[in-house]
Subunit: 338 residues, 2 copies
């Protein structure tokens, strides 16, 4: 099987979702290319994170979806360094449920008004890492390829796009970490289009925002959706650069802070911020909402993003001049990092 650019049997954590012979039938299609990419990204990240743990390893679940496709979910829980780490890939197809179609139309997708269900294909990698030490930030990334088949003037037409992003949620502000993180994303973006980093940085600030709290989830990163220009290959290459920048942008932060000393007060603040993380994911996150309304979705994979523990205290407000207050000020008003 020399036509595939990735060795599925050694570069994946387990066998691919789509059977190998099916992948080999169309090695150059975006579907195949994306499945190979996300499988390798998952395996590389899982191995990088596991290297920090003395005993715990990722639980690996390969699952199939009755409606079509499936996924591979990797979760490590209660480790030395990672309290909860989830790295998930999914390759699913079937028909879009009407709420999902409505959601897509509401953000401008020009689907014909058939009133029925649309055939779709989606392949993506999604990960949220909640470390134990409050001085190590939480990271989230998600990169996905989407296809919908629409009928236009009686002909089936493939509408495709890419979406995704990487963003950081620190519990304490560290100027240098924030800069290193954003610089890594800018480098990935700049290889493809100089307008990407500023546009997608702003989009990220707008997307990961909790209106009911008047604050951002974290210090941002990049976020984009509906990317279909200049062409399919260029979009894929860009997504690949972004996904490959995750390890170099995050692992050094884990290395640097995993053994930082912390107190019960630091831990309490971390749990309170995790409460906000839960609020964002359950109330606003597009991927979670899509998952919750998709029949046959694997709920444990969708909600692996939630932290092991989260806390809500009534009227907790940090003092302005405290480290907690300084983080809060940045969350209230997004800033430039570079």
């Amino acid at each position: 099987m020399p036509s595939l650019s990735v060795n599925v049997t050694s570069d994946f954590v387990t066998e691919s979702v789509t059977p190998l012979n099916t992948l080999n039938e169309s090695p150059k299609s975006s579907r195949t290319q994306m499945e190979l990419l996300i499988g390798k990204i998952q395996a590389d990240f899982v191995r990088a994170l596991e290297s920090f743990e003395s005993e715990k390893v990722f639980k690996i679940d390969r699952w199939l979806r009755p409606e079509g496709g499936g996924g591979i979910t990797c979760v490590l829980q209660d480790g030395d360094v990672f309290e909860k780490a989830g790295v998930n890939i999914s390759v699913v197809h079937g028909h879009l449920p009407p709420p999902a179609v409505a959601q897509m139309k509401s953000r401008g997708k020009n689907f014909p008004d058939e009133g029925g269900k649309l055939p779709f294909f989606a392949a993506g990698v999604s990960s949220v890492i909640h470390p134990r030490n409050p001085f190590v930030p939480t990271i989230h990334f998600n990169y996905r390829y989407f296809e919908v088949e629409v009928l236009r003037d009686g002909n089936a037409e493939r509408v495709w796009w890419f979406g995704g992003g990487t963003d950081l949620t620190p519990y304490y502000l560290n100027e240098s970490d924030g800069k290193v993180f954003h610089a890594a994303l800018k480098t990935a973006c700049d290889q493809h289009d100089a307008s990407y980093y500023p546009r997608f940085k702003q989009w990220c600030d707008e997307y990961f925002f909790l209106p009911h709290r008047g604050e951002s989830r974290g210090i941002g990163g990049i976020f984009f959706d509906d990317l279909d220009t200049p062409n399919e290959e260029a979009c894929f290459d860009f997504v690949q650069s972004c996904a490959e920048s995750v390890i170099p942008s995050y692992v050094p932060l884990v290395e640097a802070h995993k053994d930082d000393a912390f107190s019960d007060e630091h831990r309490r603040w971390q749990l309170l911020r995790r409460g906000r993380y839960v609020e964002f994911n359950l109330v606003y996150d597009r991927g979670t909402k899509f998952g919750l309304c998709t029949p046959g979705a694997r709920i444990e994979s969708i909600l692996m993003s939630l932290p092991l523990l989260a806390q809500w205290e009534y009227m907790h407000e940090p003092e302005e001049e405290s480290p907690e207050g300084r983080l809060t000020a940045v969350l209230k008003k997004a800033r430039e990092w570079l």
Copy 2:
């Protein structure tokens, strides 16, 4: 001020939201009657719960809303018996935001299609009690009166209704507790209409359901909305009976189990179930969703319902024959209690 049926200065936890002289101008209106009822219900419940605590007392916040009205929020946190207890009343008016109008129309409200904002008034009491001991259930209740002013054929018309309910979320199944609790609700219902308990019990089972988990939040109770028959006075009397049944239905359960011995495993299960509570409240709860989309809403009062701590573990499934498994079986399939 002999015309008011409740002594606001001694029967409330603090001064009423609506100024006393305004209440005195229309002592018999549903608006006034409801504010008096919820103020007294709040104060009685706060005092009943505080009697269990050796040191902690409720923090009482009276707040006003720039758009009109306000509320009184009482929260006790980190007590001996109650880990987090919130009892809130609000009396708000202004204009309904379009998403709230859409939500009401979607459940059948026949509002004329003006496309604009509708003037509304709402008064309600809402409470969630998360005890420390895993053998004491969490209780939630909410009783509310709603008015919307619509223009029909050029005339302003007051559309009013009552809604609410009480429901129980145990962490461990106790047959006798479940029966006592449901019996108290049935007694309150039966005084008014023999069809209420069976109808509102079923409605509760349907409402407090998490489709993405395929399970109920707890063992139910009663739930109703849009109640406007047979007449305003009868509806108010019914709501009063329900609200007054909270203390006799719940306080004995606290008394009975607050000192039960429990292990780390019981605590862990309690926190996992609280994770589901968070999921329900943020994803489905009508009141929370209404609050999150209402400009100027007091977010700390809306989210006081969230527990102090909640936990999410990947793929945690209790064994069928364990106490945790027996609760889960009841959550998967609602049952009759009486």
